[in-house]
Each structure stands twice: as structure tokens, then as C-alpha cells.
Subunit: 612 residues, 2 copies
């Protein structure tokens, strides 16, 4: 079959080779994060990638604290935590015409008081190891990437909201067509899918700054080989050292400055880059025992004008939507958070649990982050060139953002009533890590990690005095029964998940997911209390919270207490509620006097009006 005409926009309603709910183009970090989540949620998906195989070396290598948290929430982090290198500190070196290369400073990379991440380090491993997390998980659920398959075009099926996606099987050189409801382009900076979203071109500038990137095992007498190191040499530009798995080190070697002349691509050979690195590192010895990967790139900071079409049928995510330098290890991280944001929304809309207007929040939220990113990146590149003081300040100012912990969405449908109350969770921002004790089995757990990511909203009740709050809790919980809005959402979801269940892996036998879906497929309810365990039994709670016994937490595991971290102050005469979105972002937070259960229930209902 020949490719459909790209430009007329409509194809005949002809024969198709396959049909699905979502086609994901690209099996890089963003495409795999999306596909893996959709597969877990139980959504039909076809993943096309033009490469014959997964990444075997090089490319993105830095996983940031927020992404580590996400991997933990997805129960995917283990092998990476075991095998990757960890960067906890950064040291600064400099040479000037007067003073030979010397260490000018050393600092903690993610200081607790600025970042507060529970994994305050960068995890370093080649991109294929990250891709493997997803590929292995998907294959344990019977889902695989269709490789050697190049996306060619997409057209609407006349009179429907369906799309026909055409791709080329590059082995057999034949063209195939998939009928699908949604198409997501995770196909990198030169995205082809982007061309099918009207007016979505990349906006922004390319610079002349170019860098060579070399992964290898290094032999050197340079003492800071196993820290992240920023070197500024007066003779040979900047170098960034990154420790890596298997004794590897990555060097980013500056080939030309932002405003300088562009370096001829042909000149940027490994040998050239190695020699430049040796020059910069003088008087230290610098040799390579092995070289595993070499790349080079020119820095540009650009963001796509649109991340989706106006019908909310075609999307782009990841590098397809934004590009920038690699220095701060942001690209793959941001790309995965793009598609994590999209995944649960697609699930909710495809299942008919949410109105499709939910999908528009994808562009609102993620384009904002993309702009934040390139603005930061432009400053970061300049600071890198300007020297240690500037770079250190740029780090301090942006370190929360770099870690991923600081990425924040604007106020909107999903992020209600941003506030200026100090020391309180902020809608549009992440949960703050906190330790609590599970009531039922006395296990200490991290509240932000304990509940598995099943596409559900979490409704945390914070009742410092559990017994005093019982009437309040009972009244608000009654708002989740049939007949109410939340009851309708739950029963719609339950029908949908019955027809099309989540896709299980053998390992799920140990994950006990039913503990979290006992009350609803859409909501996990949770009670967090400062009352001591001996003061109440599970049987004292309203029925829905009894059924949520695995998410009943005692706030006694750590100081500051979770309640205080999340609410600042919350009186014994109050109950607080936090709505956490399926992607772990805070949706809304408020507190009421125990007499105001009516208002609280209305507040909860108002949050969920965007749903069915």
C-alpha cells in the first residue's frame, strides 16, 4: 500500500492492517514511559520505532531525583539503583593564564535545604538501561515495540474521529496502516508527527555552541574522577566530567563558545575531542583505556508552538516538543515527565471516566515546563561559560528545577487555588516526601511512594485527632457512594475496568493492587492521623476508610511529621484534605473545622466536575 497523501488530511475509509486506541511513535524515553503506563492501565497501544534495536550505549545518562522518585512509584527503579553510578557532589576547577588548573570549590549537588529530595543524587547510566526498565516491564505484560517501523503520515478518517497512521516497515519496504483514536509523537527533535499538528513548529534559536561527548574508561591522575566536575580552562574551554556505571566516565567537551564560531562537524572527531580535553586538563594525565560512545551536538533552545492539535487527537511529547543543551541532564527526564503527564489523562478519557477537555491540560502544563526549561538552559549555558561564581549562583537558583522536584504547573482545572500559605503543599507541585507508619502492619513507608501508580487520584484525609474527626470523615466519605458525582465516576470506571482490565504482569501477584482499588478504581482514600495506634481500631472508621485499611497511616514515623510538612499547621479541631493527581502532583489542598464537613464535601465534588 502506498502512503496516504499527506496533505489532503483525509483518507478513504479503506482496509487497515491493525487497529488500536493509541499509536506511540518512538521508543525513546518519552515514548516508552507513555507506552509502559498505557499498557499497565490496560489501554491498547502500538509502539512504532524506526530503529532496529534498543539503545546499547551513550545518549542520555543522567536521571534526576524526581525521575528516580517516579521510577520508584512505578516500582521500576531497582536495577537502575543497583547498577548506575550516583553523583552526590560537584567540584569546580579552573585555570587562568596566571594560575594552573586547580580546584576552586566543591559542593553538594542537591543540598537538602534547597531541594529536599529523598534521593538527592543523579543516577548515571546509559539510556538503554533506562529504556530496558520499560521494555522489560512491558514484555512482562505481553507488550512489545514494533521496530524497523518508520512513521510516515497520518490522516483523519472522514466522518469519524479516527486516525489512519501509515508507517513503513523498513525491512520489507512495505507500507502499513493502523486505525487509531490517538497518535502521540515521541519521535525526537526531528519529529515527523509534529508536522501533522497544524502550526506546531519549533520556535527558538540555535546557537553556535557545540560540544563533543565521549564515554569511556579513563586513566588519569586527576583526583576528582568520581565526582561531577566542571572545568574551565583558559586554553581549551570548558569540560564537564560525569562519573558513570561500569567505571565509565562521560566527558562533555566544549568545542566552541555560544557566541564564537561554529566548529566544523568533520573536525569534531573523537581524537580532536580527546586532545582538547587533554589540553584543558593539563598538567593532569588523561588517557582512555576504552571508548564506548562518541557524539556531538550544537546547542539550541527551542519549544514547539503546540503540543497537540485542537481536536486533542494528535500529541507530541519529549524532544519532539522541546530541545536544549545536554549539560544539565534535563532532556530525557523532562521527556518522560511529558508523557507521564499525558498517560493517565489518555487513560481517563479513553475509558470515558473523564471529559476529553482533560487532554487540553497536557499542553497547558507541559509547554509551561518546556519554556521554564529552555529559559533555565540558556542561563545555564551562559553561566557555564562565565565561570565558577556565575555557575554556582545559577546552580543555587535553579537546583530545585534541575532536580525535577521544582517543576510546577500553573493554576488550572487540575491545580486548584494556588495559595501563599507558607509551608503548605502547593497545587501544581509535588508531594513533599514524608515517612509515616502503616497502621495495619506497622511498616514504616514513604507516603509519596507507598501507593502504586494505577491511574488513580488519591484523597488524603489528615485528621490529627482521628476519633474527633469521625463525623466529618463519615459525611465526606458518604460523598463517594453511588448517586453522588464521585459514585458515578467510580461506577463508570468499574464498568470500564471490568471490560478492559489493567494489564497484569506475573510480578503483580506480589504488588497487592487490590488493596488500593478496594473502594474505587479512580480514587484511593487515605487517612493520616496523629492519634496513637492504641486509641482506635480500624472498625471505628467509616466503612470506606475501613476498606482503605492499607492506606491508613499513623503520623509518628519522623519529625517533622507529615501533617506538619504538608499543612504547616493543622489543629486537632480540623481535618485537612489533599487531592493528589494520578501522576503524583498535588491537585488541591484545604483544611476545615470539624463542623464544616458540608463545605469540604462540596469542595471535593467541585474538584472532580471535569470528570464524567
Amino acid at each position: 500500500m502506498a502512503p496516504a497523501a499527506e496533505n489532503d488530511g483525509y483518507s478513504l475509509n479503506g482496509a487497515v492492517d491493525a487497529s488500536t486506541k493509541v499509536v506511540v511513535v518512538g521508543a525513546g524515553p518519552s515514548g516508552l514511559m507513555l507506552a509502559c503506563n498505557l499498557v499497565r492501565f490496560g489501554i491498547d497501544v502500538i509502539i512504532l520505532d524506526d530503529r532496529p534495536d534498543k539503545t546499547s550505549a551513550g545518549k542520555a545518562d543522567g536521571i534526576q531525583p524526581k525521575t528516580i522518585e517516579t521510577f520508584k512509584q512505578m516500582r521500576l527503579a531497582e536495577s537502575l539503583l543497583r547498577n548506575a553510578a550516583r553523583v552526590y557532589d560537584i567540584s569546580f576547577w579552573q585555570s587562568t593564564p596566571e594560575v594552573p588548573l586547580n580546584r576552586t570549590g566543591r559542593q553538594i549537588h542537591y543540598p537538602d535545604h534547597l531541594v529536599g529530595a529523598s534521593d538527592p543524587y543523579i543516577l548515571l547510566a546509559h539510556q538503554g538501561m533506562v529504556e530496558d526498565l520499560f521494555l522489560d516491564d512491558m514484555s512482562s505484560r505481553g507488550a512489545f515495540v514494533t521496530r524497523n517501523s518508520r512513521f510516515i503520515s497520518c490522516s483523519r478518517v472522514a466522518g469519524t474521529k479516527m486516525l489512519h497512521v501509515t508507517y513503513e516497515d523498513t525491512l520489507s519496504k512495505t507500507f502499513k496502516t493502523i486505525q487509531t483514536e490517538y497518535l502521540v509523537g515521541c519521535d525526537g527533535a526531528r519529529s515527523k508527527v509534529r508536522e501533522f499538528i497544524p502550526n506546531a513548529q519549533l520556535i527558538g534559536e540555535m546557537t553556535n555552541a557545540s560540544w563533543g561527548v565521549l564515554d569511556g574508561v579513563i586513566d588519569t591522575d586527576f583526583p576528582d574522577l568520581w565526582s561531577k566536575v566542571a572545568v574551565r580552562s583558559h586554553v581549551a574551554g570548558s569540560i564537564l566530567w560525569i562519573p558513570r556505571e561500569r567505571n565509565l566516565t562521560r566527558l562533555y567537551v566544549q568545542l566552541s563558545e555560544t557566541d564564537g564560531e561554529r566548529v566544523d562537524r568533520l573536525k569534531a572527531t573523537p581524537e580532536y575531542v580527546m586532545q582538547r580535553a587533554r589540553d584543558a586538563m593539563y598538567p593532569f594525565q588523561l588517557e582512555w583505556k576504552t571508548i564506548e560512545w562518541f557524539g556531538n551536538y550544537v546547542v539550541g533552545q527551542r519549544v514547539a508552538n503546540h503540543f497537540m492539535d485542537s481536536d486533542a487527537r494528535i500529541f507530541i511529547a519529549g524532544d519532539a516538543g522541546h530541545c536544549h543543551s545536554a549539560l544539565a541532564a534535563q532532556g530525557a527526564n523532562t521527556s518522560m515527565h511529558d508523557s507521564l503527564n499525558l498517560a493517565w489523562k489518555l487513560n481517563a478519557v479513553i475509558r470515558g471516566i473523564s471529559k476529553s477537555s482533560l487532554l487540553a491540560t497536557y499542553e497547558e502544563e507541559r509547554q509551561k515546563i518546556a519554556y521554564d526549561l529552555i529559559n533555565f538552559d540558556a542561563e545555564h549555558c551562559k553561566a557555564f561559560a562565565a565561570g565558577d561564581a556565575a555557575l554556582a549562583k545559577n546552580f543555587d537558583d535553579n537546583i530545585r528545577f534541575i532536580s525535577g522536584v521544582g517543576a510546577e504547573y500553573s493554576e488550572g482545572m487540575l491545580n486548584r487555588n494556588k495559595h501563599s500559605i507558607p509551608n503548605r503543599l502547593q497545587p501544581g507541585a509535588l508531594q513533599l516526601p514524608a515517612k509515616v507508619t502503616r497502621y495495619i502492619d506497622a511498616n514504616p513507608v514513604d507516603i509519596q511512594l507507598d501507593i502504586p501508580m494505577l491511574g488513580q487520584f488519591r484523597m488524603f484525609f489528615f485528621a490529627p485527632d482521628a476519633l474527633a474527626a469521625l463525623p466529618f470523615l463519615r459525611f465526606v466519605c458518604d460523598g463517594f457512594y453511588n448517586g453522588t458525582l464521585m459514585g458515578r465516576i467510580t461506577s463508570q470506571a468499574s464498568q470500564s475496568y471490568q471490560k478492559q482490565p489493567r494489564r497484569e504482569a506475573p510480578s503483580d501477584a506480589f504488588a497487592n493492587h487490590s488493596r488500593y482499588t478496594a473502594v474505587s478504581d479512580v480514587f484511593t482514600l487515605s487517612l493520616v492521623t496523629k492519634s496513637p495506634k492504641f486509641q482506635f481500631e480500624i472498625a471505628d472508621l467509616p466503612k470506606l476508610l475501613q476498606d482503605s485499611r492499607w492506606t491508613l497511616y499513623l503520623d509518628d514515623a519522623d519529625t517533622p511529621h507529615c501533617t506538619d510538612k504538608w499543612f504547616g499547621t493543622l489543629q486537632n479541631t480540623q481535618t485537612g484534605i489533599v487531592i493528589v493527581r494520578p501522576d503524583g502532583y498535588v491537585g488541591a489542598i484545604n483544611a476545615w473545622d470539624l463542623s464544616a464537613s458540608n463545605e469540604a464535601r462540596r469542595w471535593v465534588e467541585e474538584y472532580f466536575v471535569f470528570m464524567v
Copy 2:
């Protein structure tokens, strides 16, 4: 081939089907711990087991804190930590003729002030999941269990120290013979290998106490389903509740008391046990949704008279050497620590790095623990029957021992100079968990876990003031060069490991073992200092400590500091040395003034005289 005559003790030097260094009989917890370690060390081993397949359900299910530490040290713990249930607390229930069943208390299972384990919980999973850790690791190194193979007999090869081991291939019903240097019986309570160690019979008493054990998914309104629970009913004896993986619960149901009448085996059906449990739990509902495993056993406390023969060629380990009740979840744990103790000793002797007198310490050390265990177990069973107060006291008195953290070896060749200095590591006991910072990459690590288990001794230098200690360190390190005793040990080892390297798995590519064998295959040197990082460079240290840069630790990660936890007090004008054995037990500890490097070096050499 017919089985060799069992009793004449010598066989003809006839044809054999295979030859190896060590034959391990039994692929239960003790046999697999042994085999897995030997395989990793690079020692040829054949593992025979009469079962057709690995354990698929039931049997031992409680992994204690010390064993969790061991699994972490072996880098095997991950899947178990993910999939097993964790018990942190225990609650006590009781009924009397006057008062119906009620909770009489609840306590933390492994209180920090009594135990101090870094994983203060029991990990619960059926025995097959533990066996899998070893089986998977072994198979990744190309080693497998020879199944359907029943050990029959063993005889000496005349005029040599070789053994001929005969086993039956139970599928083909043929007999085969293996020539081997060592035979280890990990073949359980009814050990056949034990019969080939003169005078090694089990000594001790069987009681009449019998218990039924039932694994299943329970439906109940009993509120403490997910704690460990000790129930004493006045109508139906004792019950122990154990939460398990995959929503399972194990019940140990007492069928008769220690001094009571023995229950007929035929009577002890699952139905009988379930009804007895229901009676005991009245007025709570108790039903089973599924039953996965059922077993019953009669309690006896017995220890083998010998754990090895006088030539140190035939050994037993695990249940073959000791048996007792299952209530305190000790059997599999102790069994694995038996064979962990034996593994590195066999490695050292087989490689010619150590004199064979080392092997005698196996019996000395592990038989002592076996006696400690059955003494505790007899008390524990009595306390269980005597009621909550007695049981709580028995727990408090023995909780360190139960956790495995409290198992201690007597003074001997490997455990020198037990002392009575308070707050100081004790030879024959374990390292105390402590957090330190790796100098080279600023990673916070647990000192007791950071160095992989490669069959090496660890030599920790504690120099509160690193620069002041340099001359001392230099002098003692010089004692590790060629010509010295330690130098000879190292060069012997290096020849041996060159000929017969450790057996690597693909995953070892990420483990960077060469960082720990840089100085010697037998010794990992390590420096722990309170000096701040900026005060010295790695290049300032003696050459051997430079080469040990991955085990250079800053004692700044936690309070109390590691130095203070391990030494109590150690002045800036002193250096302390801790020798840690390959199995993680402390071998010797001492401290010297910085002027006494001569004495320190002699002290180190004296420790290692048992080696080549």
C-alpha cells in the same frame, strides 16, 4: 555401577563419572548458600538434590534481620525485599474462662535499643523464593543443581585424601560416582551424609509438642491479621499468626502441649487444624479463601555430636546438624549461616591460602550457635505455653539472638582477645551498622554493606586525624608488601585466582569488584577518618591506601559516628584497627598510640599466622 560398599570405608580407585572439589548434598537453604558462595569464589562444586524441583510453596518463611544483612552483602536481597511481607510488630491475645479473647499487648518486634539492626523486621516469603535468590545467581554464573540425585554413600580413595561419593540418579535408577576433595551434607534433619561422620548422631530429646502449619488467604474480622500475633486460647491452645507475601497468612496451630499427649499424625489434617484455629479465635470469624500449603511437625531440640570428621573432609550444615521448633523462625536462617561460615574457609583452604586447620573452626563456631539455639528454643516453647508475660520476657531476653544479630562465636583462632571494654566491637560478633561517606564519590554508604563479599578479610584503619596518622599507616601498610607474611599470602592468592578466577555473572560488570581487590585478593584495606575532606587528598596517603581509594571513608555521615560506635573512644593521637572476617564477623580489634605502629604491625601479623 553398584553403590560402593558403605562400611568398609575405602573404595577401589576405580572409574568415576565426574570429579570436583566439593560435593554439596542438598539444595535447601544451607546447601544453596554454600554452593552459591563457592561458585562465586570460583571453586568447583557439584550440588546433588533428590527432589525433582525447587520448593514451590510453604516450608521456612521467616528471614531474620541478620540474614537480610547477609543477602544485602551478597547483593541478593532485592527481589525478596520487594516481594516479601515485613513484620515489624507483634501483638498478644488471650482468652480465659472469665474473659473472652482480647488483645493484651502489642510491641515492636525488634526494638532498636535491644537489637540495633538496620533492617529491624522479619521478611516473610515461602522458602522457594529464598532458594531462587541462590539458584538465579548460580545460573547466571553457569552453575546448576543436579536434581533427582540421591546421595547414597561416601568412601575414601585408598592412599589419598580423596572421597568417592556415590549417588543414585532416581530417574534412570542408575548409580554414579563423583571424586571429590570435600563432601558437605546439607541434606536436612534426616541427613544421610551425617552417617559417614563417625559419632555424629543427633543428641537431644523429641518432645510431644506438635503443631500444624497452614498457609492460605484468610477471610476474617480479626483486626490484627497483618501483624505477627501470638494467641493463647483457654479452649484450644496457642496460635501464631504470620503475615505473608501475596495476601497469604501462615498459622501455626498448636495441636498438643509439650508435656501433653502426642497428637495422632492421622488426626492432624488441614480440616482439623482449621477447626482448632476457629475454636481458638472465637468470637472472630475465620475462613480460608485458598489454602496453599499444609504441614505439621513434632518439636525436638537436638544437635549433632559432630559437624565434621576429624580429617576435615566431610561436613554437615543446617538441619543436618540441629533441629528444633519452627516458632521463632530460626532454622533456615541458622542453616544458611552455618554454610556461610564454611564457604569462605573451604575456599581459603582449597586455594592453599590458609592452613587446613582453619576448617576446625567451623565446628567450634557453629556447634556453639546450635547449642545456643536449642537452649533458647526450649525456653521459647515453654514461654509460649506459659503465657504472655513469660513470652514477652523470653522475647526481650533473646530478641538479639532471634534476630541473628546476637549470635556470637567464642574466642578462638579467628576471634582474638574478646574484651570487656564497653561500646567496642567484640571479636566473634558482628560489625555494628554505621553510615559513612565514600571519600572518592561522596556517596553515603553503610560500612557493613559497602564492600562486596569476595572471600576477603577487611582491614579497617580508623584514624580520627588522617594526616597525623600517616607515618603509622605507612608503616603498617608496609607490612602488606612482598616478603612479609601478608605479602606471601597475597601472592599465593594472586597465583591461585589467576589460575582459577572467581566465577563472574553478567551483572558483575556493574559491581566493579576490582575496586576491592586492587591491593590483594585476600585483603581489602580501608581507612575511616574524621578528618574533613578538604584537609587531605588521596595522593597524601600511603600507596596501598591510595589503591584502596574506594574504601576510603569519611566518618561524617551520621551520629553517633562510626568510629565512636565501633571503638567507644578513640583519640586523635591513636589509630584503631579492626580485622573483619570474610563472613562479616569481627576477628580482632585494637587501638594504638600513633607511636606504636610496630606493635600494631606485629598484632596484624599475629592474627594471620593461621594462613599460609
